[in-house]
Structure formats: C-alpha cells, structure tokens
C-alpha cells in the first residue's frame, strides 16, 4: 500500500501539537490539502483571503499562545505573499512554521508555472529554511523545523515541498524520528557562572539601577523572575514595546515603555541610571536613539540568548548568553535584598510630574480617550493587538497590561496591516478571551479583506479604527519636521467602514463625538458572534507624545504641550546627573 509523504507530514504536524493552519491552497499543495482533509477532525484549516493574512494570523496565534503558529501557501505567488508576514515574525522572534508548495523537482530551476525560488527569497527573513528534495527526509525536516522555530532565539522556519515529493509513497511503517538532534545547532541556556557572579556584584554595588526588559522575557516566560528581581533588589523596570505586559503596568516599580514614544520616567531612568540590566532586549534604535549617547553613565549587563546581539549596537560590561528565565534564576540564587530609596524617590518624582497626558477637555474625539474608555470597560484584561503607527503607540501608552502575551504588536519590522489579521490569530488561539484590535484607517485597509475570515469563523473581535483620514504617524513627522507639507499622507476617499463591515457580514459602528464613545463600545462588547468595527473619527491633528526624534537623545525629547513648561527642569536634572557622574 504505502503512505504518501503528504500524509506523513500531517501526522508530524498533529504530533507537534498543531491545531490550526492558516493558508490558501493551490496546485503545488493539493496533495497536502487532501491529507489535511482526511484529518480535518484534528487539524483545522482556516482559509484566509490572502497569504499575507495567513502569515500574520499564524504569527498572532504564536505570540498570544506561546505555541508554534503554522501557515501554508502554494508555490510562486502564494509563497511570495507570505514574505511580509515572515519578515515581521523574524524581526520579533516569533515561532512560525510556513509550509509552501513548490513545483515538482524535475521542473525546479526551469521557470516553471508558478515557480519561485522560495528558499532563496526567504533566506534572510527566516531563522532557517528547507527545500525538501526527497520524501524520505520530509518527516525529519518538519520535526527539525518545529524544533528550530521554538527553541533558542525563536523565529520563523519555512519548509518548501515540491509537489512530486508530497505525492511520493513511503512504506506504511516509515519511521518518524522521535528526537531532533542537530550537530550544527546548539543553544546556550544557562549563563556562565563567572558572568552571573559579576552581574550580581554590579547589582549589589550600584545605587541607581534600571531594568530594561524586552521580548526575550516573554519568549522565555521570565516574568516572575523579573518581578522577583525588581522587588528584591528594589529596581525600577522599563519595558520595550515587545515586553509590554511582561511586567504589570500597575506595579509601583513599573515606569512604562522606554524609547521614542516612551514615558519621561522610563527614558530618564534609562539615561541617568548607573547600572542598566538589559534582559532579552537588543538596544534597538527605537529605544536608544543615538546609541553613543544612550545610558552613557551606566555599566551595562546584557542577558540574551542570541550571542550575536551582545555588543551589536552598544558595548556592554557584563555579557551573559543564556535563556532569560534561567539566567535570572541563577542571579536570584545569589542576590540579597537591597534598597535604593533616593533613586526610587527620584524616578517616582518623574512618574508623578511627567505623566502621559493629552487635552482631556477637547470637544473632538481623542484617541487616548478611546483607549482609556476601552481599558475601563474591559477591566484591562483584553488581549490587545495593534497595527503600526500612532494607533500602536496610543494603545501601548494607555492600555494597562498585566500579563505576558496580552499585548501583540509588530515591533521590529513595523508592519502596517499586521494588526487585524494578527488579532484573528490571537482569537483562534484564545477562543475564550476578549480580543481588541487597535488599528489606523491606513493599516486596516491593507488587510481588511480578512474580515471575511473573521466573519466566517464568528470571531467576536472588536476592531477600533482610529480614523483620522491620514497616514497619521507619517503626517506627525511631516508636521514636526517637514513644515506640515502633507506629501501623499491624506487618506481622503476612505471607504465608509460601517458599510464595509456590513458588506462582509460584520457589525459596524461609527463614533464621531466623545459622548458617543462609551455607549457604542458597551453595545459592541455585547456582540459575541461576529466581528465589530468601531470607526472612531479622531482628532486628525493629535500627535503621539512624548517623542524623542529618530537618532536623538533624551535632551531632544518633545513633551506633550501640557508639560512643556517642565522641560527645563528635566534638562537641569540631566546636567546635574552627568556632572555627578563625571
């Protein structure tokens, strides 16, 4: 009889714990689709409307659950449509496995119909990829793909399968390997004891420490350890966009997000501390601004599972390669409790005097207000997925999160169009949770075709559109740095999003005044069987503040208009801190 390789592939997928695959079939994956059909009781295939949607959905599923997200596409255009989604997953170290069809092996390299060099195209935007050239190696390769995607620094892995390979029959008892062993792939998990000791010494002797945590804390599930370290050694915590939720926003030691649109307290702490403890973050330019000036008085400890991140952007004093959770546990074994009262008093002073703020008396609908009301109505417990741009920053600033994997956003690649499909993936992974997508009118239009997918599967996602009829973040830069010359940023001609929702079979609401907001959201939150679009017409001239311009330093920070009179005080405190350190 024999068993087709496609059938074995499906066995491996089920064995790896895959419950759902997002994708679109096509000629080169028909054998695989047929095998999935036979196992449709165990393996759900979600037909998306575009492969980009499939990739973001797999990514949103992965980020919100901690499991591997799987997407599938056929050869040629199917696989090239996955590219943006894979690049986004790569930049944010998200565990995604993409399975693509390829033309039959005799046709490879002959520019056959729907042929693309998929492994060539995706080489720089995947952690690893495979072109399967024999049916016998398919089960092993798929096992390896999952192993690579979910271990070490996580990331997307693509497996390209020619159509004749998936059709090939193997013996009925063809073995599926149980263990994965790769001599060329080794991950360092425990930190070097000497480095851990040195880090502990620095923590014991510092007076103004700051914890700077990134996505690695979420990936290694180290939230509890971060909290223990912060509390035991009395250290304020700054998180990156990728780590929002990994340390509770309502914790007294939480200073909020750092970087370009981070809080004043977070950025002042980063830049005036004498010890910076970086855990699972990578000194990205959105955090550091000018890296030469960043935290320049601080000794730096850098804990990262990826050795190539250490010393890449900023020179560090104590590098520790390892898994964040394990390294923090090693540290906690030797660290004694201590206090930094005057430092904590200082950062709390910044927190009190430079809060996130906006014009609350405006007659126009303010986006920050929309997030605040949504946070209030949902008790801060929803899974929040954002698109990219102003919507992303307002959601990050004003929605308080309390658990890891609660806040999902395209950080590194900054992929507009990510938010809505990623929220679909998050809802599939968390069917009993409330999922909110905060998107802009620009980004939503890039992937709004996925409304069809959300409607078909009765997903009750609340999509809040910050509709300002502009590509808002670009407009903000044009306002600040290009004399308000709006070169191609007006979205005049936007569709009526309420009608769009209705056309897809979703529900649409329009909110144009502040007083309409809460009643509308309350109604929308009652809808449990279909997606809701809430089209919020916000003040088009609202900017995201604070803002440290690209490549700038803390001295260049632009405060919200309500706080600008306090900028001078900040500069004086900075100068005093630099003088004291010198």
């Amino acid at each position: 009889m024999g068993i087709k390789a496609a059938e074995l592939l499906v066995h491996v997928l089920i064995e790896e714990g895959v419950e759902v695959i997002f994708g679109i079939p096509g000629g080169a994956v028909l054998e695989i689709m047929d095998a999935i059909y036979h196992h449709r009781d165990k393996l759900k295939f979600v037909l998306t409307r575009h492969e980009q949607g499939a990739a973001h959905e797999a990514d949103g599923y992965a980020r919100s659950t901690g499991k591997v997200g799987v997407c599938m596409a056929t050869s040629g255009p199917g696989s090239t449509n996955l590219v943006t989604g894979l690049a986004a997953a790569m930049m944010d170290s998200s565990s995604v496995v993409a399975i693509t069809g390829q033309v039959a092996t005799p046709f490879i390299g002959r520019d056959a119909f729907q042929e693309t060099d998929t492994t060539g195209v995706t080489m720089p935007i995947t952690k690893h990829n495979f072109l399967v050239m024999s049916a016998e190696e398919l089960p092993r390769i798929v096992k390896e793909a999952f192993y690579i995607a979910r271990t070490g620094r996580k990331g997307p892995v693509l497996v390209d399968i020619p159509r004749d390979i998936s059709r090939t029959k193997l013996d009925d008892d063809f073995p599926i390997p149980k263990e994965v062993s790769l001599r060329s792939y080794k991950v360092t998990l425990k930190g070097h004891p000497l480095m851990v000791k040195r880090a502990a010494e620095l923590i014991a002797s510092c007076t103004k420490p700051t914890l700077y945590i990134g996505g690695g804390v979420v990936a290694s599930e180290a939230s509890e350890e971060v909290r223990e370290l912060a509390e035991r050694c009395n250290i304020p915590v700054v998180y990156t966009l990728m780590a929002k939720g990994a340390f509770p926003d309502n914790h007294p030691l939480c200073l909020g997000m750092g970087g370009m649109h981070g809080t004043v307290a977070a950025n002042m702490a980063l830049n005036t501390c004498d010890l910076l403890i970086c855990v699972g973050a990578r000194f990205d330019d959105r955090i550091t601004g000018n890296p030469k000036e960043f935290a320049k008085m601080a000794k730096k400890i850098h804990i990262d599972i990826d050795p190539s991140e250490i010393g890449k952007n900023v020179k560090v004093d104590v590098p520790i390669v390892g898994d964040a959770k394990l390294v923090l546990q090693q540290l906690l074994e030797i660290l004694q409790p201590k206090r930094h009262d005057s430092w904590i008093e200082q950062v709390m002073d910044w927190k009190r005097n430079y809060p996130l703020t906006y014009d609350r008396s405006s007659e126009m609908l303010k986006p920050q207000y929309v997030v605040e009301v949504m946070a209030k109505l949902t008790g801060g417990s929803a899974i929040v997925v954002t698109d990219v741009g102003q919507n992303q920053m307002w959601a990050a600033q004003y929605y308080p999160c309390s658990r890891p994997r609660q806040f999902i956003s395209s950080g590194g690649l900054g992929t507009m169009g990510f938010g809505f499909p990623a929220s679909i993936g998050a809802q599939f992974g968390n069917p009993n949770e409330l999922v909110i997508a905060f998107v802009g009118d620009g980004g939503f239009q890039m992937t709004m075709y996925e409304l069809a997918t959300a409607v078909i599967h009765s997903l009750p996602i609340k999509v809040i559109i910050f509709n300002n009829f502009y590509l808002g973040m670009v407009k903000q830069w044009q306002d600040l740095f290009f004399g308000s010359r709006y070169s191609a940023t007006s979205l005049y001609g936007n569709p009526d999003f309420v009608k769009v929702a209705e056309a897809f079979g979703a529900v649409g609401y329009s909110v144009k005044k502040p007083e309409e907001l809460q009643p509308t959201l309350e109604i929308a939150l009652e809808v449990k069987d279909k997606p809701c679009i809430i089209d919020c017409w916000i003040d088009p001239d609202e900017h995201v503040y604070p803002m440290i311009p690209a490549g700038g330093t803390i001295k260049d920070i632009i405060l919200p208009p309500q706080l600008r009179h306090r900028k001078q005080k900040l500069l004086e405190q900075l100068a005093a801190a630099y003088a004291a350190a010198a």
């Binding site: 492994t119 060539g120 080489m123 720089p124 952690k127 690893h128 072109l131 050239m133 690579i148 790769l182 001599r183 060329s184 792939y185 990826d306 050795p307 190539s308 250490i310 010393g311 890449k312």
Partner: protein
Amino acid sequence: MASERKSQQLHTLSVIVENRPGVLARIAGLFRRRGFNIESLSVSTTDDPTISRMTIVVGGDDATIEQITKHLNKLVDVIKVQDHTGEDVVERELALIKVSCEPEQRNEILNLVTIFRASIVDVGADTMMIEITGTEDKINAMLELLRPYGILEVARAGKIILARGSKTT
C-alpha cells in the same frame, strides 16, 4: 605601510559547515546583508563527505570580526567557526601564472621557478605557465619577478589553512 595595516586587519576564519545545497548562499548572503567584506574564500568537502570546510579571509576590526563569527555561528548549517589569525598554522595559496616568454628566456624563468620551488606546467611557442603554492607573500613575490616578462593571465585560489600538530582547525 598601507599593506601592513591592511594585513593586520585581515583575519582567517575556518568555518566547518554541513555539506548541503544552499550553504554557500547563506554565508554569502550573511556577508552581503551585514556589510562584511570577503577578501578570499575557499570551499571544499572534507574527509567526511557530509561536512565542508570554508576558509574565509575577512577584513575588519575586532568588533566586526566578533560580529561575523557570532552571526556565522547562528546559521543553522554552520557547525563550527574558528578564527586562526595569529595562530600557528600552515597557510597556502595556489596560483597559475601564464607569462609571455620568448624561447631564449625560458632558462631565466626556469631558474626563478626553481628558486621558488614552483613548477612549469605548460610551455607554448611563446608562453609558459607556472604553478606555485605558498603563502600570499611568496606568490606576490613570484608575480613581481615575472611581471617584466609580461603576465598574460593569473588564476589564484583562495587561502586554505590547517593548524599545526594535533590541534584541530
């Protein structure tokens, strides 16, 4: 002086990789994408047919070399990376040099070839081809001495190295 400074910045990396299709593309892609510069590259299988050895000569300061090494190690198909710069290794390059040569000049050239322990591998009516192995400096010296005769073509293979004694490369 300039060449001396340059040579101080050159590092010889021995990279042991899985012998699989696409590995060279991955490594070349990494160098291109991160802006690292390859001076020379030599690839061949080893005694174990599943493993290839790449000897890569790269330029850069210590921080750059550290980044190159780390990024190479991160590639799933890379088994081991070692920087042998400044270590006790045997290094060799191979060159084929075709020079213009009148019949009466053959003896002169033969003398040079003997001194350099090179060999003549082809003689034409008015050409000679010399095969030489050795360090980069030795090959450069040979080239300079042959230049007056008129060098017609040169093919040089990338550097290869092995550590001396029982130490592995």
